[in-house]
Symmetry: C5
Subunit: 325 residues, 5 copies
């Protein structure tokens, strides 16, 4: 689906243009064309490939979809794949939708193709059009703006993960929470791996957009792309820290399960003793020996009961003291 | 076994040629010869070595087989070893056959030797012959086409592993599934290591086929080999992610086993108490003291039974509430 | 809040100056201005940005706050973010407040912005003013002095962690301390990750302030910044060592829990046997067979009791010997 | 002990020479001398040091023995230390003897010193003498031949480890094999570390014998040493894979132990219930209440027994169904 | 405390000189001064700093002490910090004292400052004075001799750790040794981390004293410092191997604890059954039904006892066979 197809000149919007005229605008040196597609059918991509003269390997990747995040240089154009992660709902344990944005950037065009994402980039376009002095940098600046937006959208996802971890951490030493803790920890780990998968290859690739040898379209924008890199690096650092804490939390949770087991065993042992001792005594006075003087005593029975109670009180106090009960 | 032996000129098939004439075609500058062997006997390899003038160390490796994946440069020729992984059946838990393809590439020849693989490369040859404008690049392009095909065949294997992991993950918190989970996790890990073994050295080696100093036969095809590298890198990333999740899943499974044990112990303790208390009471009224007033009561027996039931109901409710039962 | 705003010339204090005159002093070649802010409102930052002509991306970061530690170069100025970690109280298990200091450094100005920190840098300023021969180096030396101070303040935090670890290690083989140990270990790990988060990116960045290509403002001060780097590296090494020991300690603690469980089970088994054997004997002599000669013996009862005691003494001694009791 | 002392010229054997004449042959440009020692006494090494003019630090290492594998360059000579691993017997769980070979190589000499190894290098010498066209390369080729032989001898050791792992893997899910599994896993790990210790430093060092700047004696033999490197790299990869699987196998084994424990507890609980229920019923009918109508019934006793049996059958079926029995 | 203060010329001892004359000797080109201090008071360090004109940052570090091992270059002098590890006693489980040696080296002086170490370097000085041809290299050679000595003193410490590990490994599969094993493993890990802390930063730093750009004072002694590096690398490798084995040993020990627990549970279950079955039978014949024909049989009692014994023998044999007993 074609979302927008707009031509810009010197940072200012010229107006929407028909797709068939793209190839004409692209040749004007001071112009650039910015096209946005959303889940386009195969022939729409092919049409764009013809208009913009895109590299066949990049086009093939766009057709197939499900690419890992990357930035590839084809002659003087770039092919960028970003992943988006959108929560399905506002719940803490919501699942994440793993969307994809493919961006083709040349000296005077930029084409974005979204897949499986709800949020578009209309706000990016609006902001860019409000800042013509920056938009004058051309397609490189738009690329920065798009990447910056996608990366900034990771932060709430990351924050939600940190909150989820904190919530689990609060429960980790609570008795009887081990099962739900372990399920939450595993679910969190799964989401974290998704984010890691979106971040790590991108970080690596973005590191090549500033500093030494930089692709032509990004020239002169090093500080901007370093800023994106910096954000990615920060997310990366936090992911690694969460991952490390998750591993520790799972180990600790395992320890808590063993501890709980140990406490149950102690309780079982204590109560078993408290019940078994009177049972043994009762068994003794239930023996049928002819000569058992206690049986004939007037207070034999109450004394026996008293002995049982006394034993049990003694045991109970002892077990309480050693924290078996 | 000789599968094919074909000469090409300017990207077009000249026709099948006898093995003995290879050395002649190889000297023609605009020609190249593409030979495919399948599990050849030793003398067939030696014959090829003579016709193509292959490097003795590479030939020795081809004789021995069981090489790790690699790309070696001998003067201006390359020796490439790839591993193939083919599922024995369509079952989820099928084992994988670890096959091997050795490829000798020179400026105007390419020789592939398959071992322990079912699928050949006839489709690669057919596609190449349909695209003479690409085949004109010569043996370097054929090398790319073969590597691309082998690497693309890893994806269904990887997808099957991801599905297997997801299937285990669905069962991981199911009670009484711990044994089958742990067996599946271990089997999956074994397969994953096989794939890792096929991918990692190859990825490392492929990284040298584009960018800086590139072997002569791959010159001008950097973007193609980078594409192969990119696929390998993607597989590598997914393998690492699966590996990480496997480690976590094994830990979590261990936790679930401990939890299950803990729950069994609780149940055991609860039922033990429910049985032991009436047994103790019965023991007490089974004592043979002469003076036990309760024994003579008309409702002594029903009262005793009622006491037992009451105790047990009390215990049952309590254990239910604390989730021991 | 403006803490200080002072101009210096040739290492000597000229005096406090009004904010509006900063831009004037900054242009004098032999002068530099050192401004300290504490949790400034947005417009105060903007005013400084205008006076010092700061880079918009750096200013945006200062507005947002919550940056990871970093050193960024904008043309011939630097933007440095440091984290501070201050214990809330003197208790061993006190939580740490994660504060932030942003520093803008140019050839003849230095602006520090503190957030969420109690301790300021008045002592740094005082020391610098006492050493005019060093202060003559200009803003680069002040940057060193500030970084050195922030880094030196990590050491007591690190020492407290080492003490905490030692304290846990003393308890790790103590019986019944497993629960509190595991809680302490987890809390320590959380704090350690906080410190790691403050140190690691900073160490990486500081490594670029000496040696090869160095930012202009740090020129000629390589030995000083290497000293800071060396301190950070030392902290980093200690963090890694603590982390490693923590992992081992958690594992060992898990082992101690299992051992304790094992010992409880042994005790349970031993006492169960000691009670069950007399119960069984009593049960046997409680049977109602008509012909049980022992029942009629004059010493039947005492003999039975004696047998029970004998059995139990035997069991008790045996269990003692095998350390089940 | 002197094993051999032979002079070669243009790849052909000149004949055995007395030790005292070594220094003379070494000066002839077209000659080289190949000496093999086995566990030589200190003065024999010193004599060689004089004849070959070896570097004192290398000689000191040879005296001390127990060096880690390494390749050191002293001016235009090399000092190489290799470890050999020989199984004591043919048993799967045989221990390995960790031997050592020190090699001194100069432009026209090669001296090998074996320690604690059974197998010598007579086969290497024989093969070299059969291939004079290769031996013409001089001492560099002999070095390659020795290293290649030592490295090739690691393969059967590695294969034995892989077999051992497979054998353990077959047993890992077998009940009651946990103890022997864990012992085998640990023993395997120990051997693996021994091999790793022999391989890793050597791989690192061998990587410097081809490619960029290469020691003089190895010049022009890059492809051969890369082949040795490749073998070492392959072994390294397999070691890492085995190590990873070992870690997983130990974890899984721990899980199997817990599972087995869990199953024992279930069985214990089930049988306890099956015994306890009749015991309770018997206890009830063993009470001495005067008014217990069931006691006087003609079929009271058989009914009671029937009730016990019925309960137990019910329990048995239930436990079977839930797989507690 | 001043230990020695000696001037050397052309590798020969000139004689002890008073501290106040150091600055004079230092200026003579063919001389160098070698001073050894042991736990000097602050003013003694300051005096040396003046005499040798040491760099203030290095002096500050020497004052503070508790530096991590490092080698720092200040203009054409070096500041080296080494850690020493001395066992308190000869016992296997002795603790280690973590001492420190700071060394200041310039073109014609070397100053060593020892802290918390028993062993001094008189043997180094004596050996150096016996080898004037080496001592002629000047302060660089003395630095090598000191570093070599400190590093060589790590070997017995490392050997003691390897012995300790072997001793634990012998006990690891012994029953009932789990607690002492785990304590030993943890203590060993602590010592290992101490050694790692002493080795790793030093190895990194020593790597810069040979090869490419080398500090002036070490020029021409590359082979010597590489030898030190090689020793450090060997220790490093062994530390990593021990660390890996320790981790495995702790895991295995955990497995042994679980196994032992499992065996106790089996034993408990087996004996419980052996006791419970006769108890149940006795309970049945203790019931008070009027019509229980067995009770009136002449051989009822012996038969009942026989039945009990038979059951128990059956159970005992079965449990023995399944290794529960």
């Amino acid at each position: 689906m074609l979302v927008n197809c707009v031509a810009y000149q010197n940072g200012k919007k010229l107006g929407d243009i028909p797709v068939a005229e793209i190839s004409e605008y692209v040749t004007r040196p001071e112009c650039f064309v910015w096209v946005a597609l959303f889940e386009p059918p195969a022939d729409e991509i092919d049409e764009m490939a013809r208009e913009f003269d895109l590299h066949p390997l990049a086009v093939e990747d766009a057709h197939k979809g499900h690419q890992r995040p990357k930035i590839e240089e084809y002659d003087d154009s770039l092919f960028v794949v970003l992943h988006t992660l959108e929560p399905v709902s506002d719940a803490v344990d919501t699942t994440l939708i793993d969307g994809e944005v493919a961006i083709f950037v040349g000296r005077n065009y930029i084409l974005s193709v979204r897949h499986r994402t709800k949020k578009g980039f209309n706000d990016v376009r609006a902001r860019c059009e409000r800042e013509p002095e920056l938009l004058r940098h051309g397609s490189g600046f738009v690329l920065y703006a798009l990447m910056d937006t996608v990366v900034d959208r990771y932060f709430p996802v990351l924050d939600a993960m940190e909150s989820a971890l904190e919530q689990i951490e609060e429960n980790i030493f609570v008795r009887n929470a081990a099962r739900s803790n372990i399920e939450s920890l595993y679910a969190l780990k799964q989401k974290l791996m998704l984010l890691k998968h979106a971040i790590d290859p991108l970080m690596e690739a973005t590191g090549k957009l500033y500093g030494g040898r930089v692709p032509q379209v990004c020239a002169g924008m090093g500080e901007y792309f370093r800023d994106v890199y910096d954000h990615l690096h920060r997310i990366h650092g936090t992911i690694e820290a969460i991952r490390d804490m998750l591993t520790t939390a799972i180990q600790v949770n395992l320890g808590m399960i063993s501890l709980a087991e140990s406490e149950v065993t102690k309780k079982l042992a204590a109560w078993a003793a408290i019940i078994a001792v009177p049972t043994m005594l009762a068994g003794i006075y239930g023996m049928n020996f002819r000569h058992m003087p206690e049986l004939d005593w007037a207070f034999g029975y109450p004394l026996a009961i008293a002995a049982m109670v006394a034993f049990d009180v003694f045991l109970y106090v002892r077990f309480k003291r050693t924290h078996w009960l």
